[in-house]
Symmetry: C2
């Protein structure tokens, strides 16, 4: 009784089938993952896997070249030229975004702004793409406030509009977007943000989505919020230095991050979604019977 709320998810930590059978009718997410088959997991393509090293550890980001190919290519160029090394997290706005870019752009002395090297300075927006029936599509059954259809595609939370034939990655917790100026062509991937609060779905179709954080979110979400408007840090010492960003493909195989992501077209993922829609463990009085797109995390695991 003195550790209330603990059992809310404790059932998910119990892996003994006998006990599980006693306390709930349906398997918990933890049990489902334990029962998953190896082929239901995939290793992100090293050409799409970014390893961002911060003082506190590593943030792993999977790029989404099927949705934003020009941005993925430009980010790869920036990474290969070590553009991000020594840049910083400059902005953390509560319940919104953590953003990293060239801090020199925010300082009075703009003489030290880092050049973009071989990367393009402007890019077409790539906010949406034509629906491609060849891409995986795992629809969700409960609708969405913002879009006609939502689901998962290649591990990303995606919305679709059959009327326009377009689809786009949505701004959920952990989504990594391309910061830009007012001009829609001004984004180039040199400034990126990650969503750290309630999904700001109003950003959908207004910004290019570069990918998704698949590990290390807490290194971005638990940072002190900046005191200036929009969460900018006012004291340069508050900024978090980016030690390096590397593409896994550019690392020797032995040094690549060893991480797997659950396939969103797998049977286990479908069961996870259903388990989140209808929790039947003893803690829950009323199963929701519904789930919204951004409340479903795509599991990853380190080897």
């Amino acid at each position: 009784m003195r550790r209330p709320f603990l059992l809310l998810m404790l059932a998910g930590l119990l892996s003994l089938p006998a006990l599980a059978a006693e306390t709930h009718d349906t398997p918990t997410p933890k049990e489902l993952l334990a029962q998953s088959r190896p082929q239901e997991w995939r290793r992100p393509d090293p050409a799409n896997l970014l390893d961002m090293k911060l003082p506190g550890g590593h943030v792993l980001i999977e790029l989404a070249p099927d949705f934003t190919p020009l941005h993925a290519a430009n980010i790869r160029t920036l990474v290969r030229e070590h553009y991000f090394d020594g840049l910083a997290i400059v902005r953390v706005q509560d319940n919104f975004v953590t953003q990293w870019d060239d801090p020199a752009a925010d300082d009075e002395d703009k003489a030290h702004i880092k050049p973009l090297g071989g990367a393009k300075k402007t890019l077409p927006p790539e906010y949406t793409r034509a629906i491609d029936p060849r891409l995986e599509w795992t629809p969700l059954p409960d609708g969405d406030v913002y879009a006609p259809e939502v689901g998962f595609s290649e591990g990303f939370p995606v919305a679709r509009d059959p009327a326009t034939g377009r689809e786009w990655i949505t701004h959920c917790y952990g989504t990594v977007g391309v910061a830009r100026d007012v001009d829609p062509h001004s984004g180039n991937g040199s400034a990126l943000y990650a969503i750290i609060g309630q999904a700001p779905r109003g950003l959908d179709r207004n910004l290019a989505v570069a990918g998704r954080v698949i590990d290390g979110m807490e290194l971005l979400s638990a940072l002190p919020r900046g005191p200036a408007p929009m969460g900018f840090y006012t004291d340069k010492a508050q900024r978090v230095r980016i030690e390096s960003v590397r593409l896994a493909a550019d690392l020797p195989p032995a040094e690549r991050p060893r991480i797997e992501v659950l396939r969103t077209d797998s049977a286990t993922f479908a069961k996870l979604v259903e388990a989140k829609r209808n929790r039947h463990d003893a803690f829950y009085t009323v199963p929701a019977g519904k789930i919204d797109l951004c409340s479903i995390g795509v599991p990853s695991r380190k080897e």
Copy 2:
């Protein structure tokens, strides 16, 4: 160009009407708040206003006695007996909750568990209440994945089901809930949590909601995540000590927090919701035309 994403909300910071007229068709939230009338703001009833003092500052919580009267009364008793003074934040789970309670309950030596004094050890659940037409009701127009109707009532995000005649405060960012054990009667207000991520709406109707954080969220949301399952801190030194929790009504008037909350039945709040639904400033290519309940923050301001 070198401070991309900045202008996403910069338009909201510009208060010059002339410039505003040049850059967008509709007023920004910042402009709307600047134009609000004094009577559109309310001071929370001091009997419902908690002031939690942490090492980093004050978190202000407004209780919701019209929704959870027995819990509000029990929490007032606990606060008046200084129950929370010296307790701690024991758990921070990324994209979910920050929880505070008696840390002695988590330690091996349970001899030092603080007694509840005059407060009740168990309470009826109070997960939902009968819809009361006398309470303010400001409905939202865009639907909801989880409930037949959603809107705001007395400053709180609320869902309703006309079929059952019930309504309940929803688990949005900043909602403060009553932790409990499996037994629905085991919650008593001595352990509380605040939502710090994507709204976990599956908790709705399964936990009593005590109220909402109206100031100081970043003191709860930016804390280091705990390494143990469910975000519990493993090292006692990681816990954040609660210096005190006081009811504003118990403080001399001069020492009470001076904070106002925008009335959710005000014309300005309606305009804010519309401005979030359809952003017309130059940054946005496609206005969402929709807004979900938990993406609408209720503004507060300190005097």
